[in-house]
Symmetry: C2
């Protein structure tokens, strides 16, 4: 339905299946990942090690059918896809904030990863608290939803 | 070079030219925008009004040549594109966090907008402090860079 951005790399993670992956990175802060940026783009990483946190944009390459309203992993009530971080969304694009632990050339070791192993990476942006941190934001319908396991069989 | 995601809407803003637009939304918190979600996707907005802040992903549709290393709007020193929020990036995708002021059907009125008028919208995600707010993150090379005007003629 939607065309996809060309990947600039691949994200390696400990999560091989959807059941393995945490619903969000903060639910598994120990999840170590390796972000491999294709060598053609290594130059674009200049000075990235000056940041402690990065925003990764990636493709939900194993997502299922797109539905505009559906129950989510964290709630049995249906919510709109744009009021949810659910993978089956029109753009097919996921976003996660990770901690940058170490850089070696085109490899970034990161903490707090929540994506499936082999996920196509489409962009890296530096996380800048002045631009991106809004601790006063409300949690909306998620406010009462704590960590839980993914309901079995739910896409 | 890169294919583009299909838009789900259009962002209307007071900024008609690159010179008008603030470098980041926080530099112009009063910038009011209107996010028009195409009516085919209205259903996907269910419950979005329970959130105070939203993440918008959009296309940098008027960006110029992609360079992996370049001076940025906020610094004359060159930095890698993945260590910068510069628009001319391989993915062509921009990210901004806005405040949701009001929803009327498929129209979202938002504050803190920093994009050009008519920018194609590709995704909306709820901003959730537990997932997205990291006030302790370092500002990297941006730490000493305050608000300034865009250097004339700099793409």
């Amino acid at each position: 339905m939607h065309s996809k951005s060309t990947p600039i790399g691949v994200i390696h993670s400990p999560y091989r299946t959807k059941e393995d992956a945490p619903i969000q990175g903060i639910f598994s802060p120990g999840g170590l990942g390796r972000v491999e940026v294709f060598s053609a783009y290594t130059e674009g990483l200049k000075d990235i090690e000056t940041f402690s946190h990065l925003i990764l944009l990636y493709q939900f390459d194993r997502a299922g059918e797109i539905k505009l309203v559906r129950p989510t992993f964290l709630d049995d009530e249906p919510h709109g896809i744009f009021a949810s971080r659910h993978p089956c969304r029109p753009s097919g694009i996921g976003l996660t904030v990770v901690k940058l632990l170490r850089r070696s050339k085109n490899i970034l070791e990161v903490g707090g990863i929540d994506v499936l192993d082999g996920t196509p990476l489409i962009d890296i942006k530096p996380y800048v608290p002045r631009f991106d941190s809004f601790p006063e934001a409300t949690e909306g319908w998620l406010a009462s939803k704590g960590k839980r396991y993914k309901p079995p069989g739910r896409e």
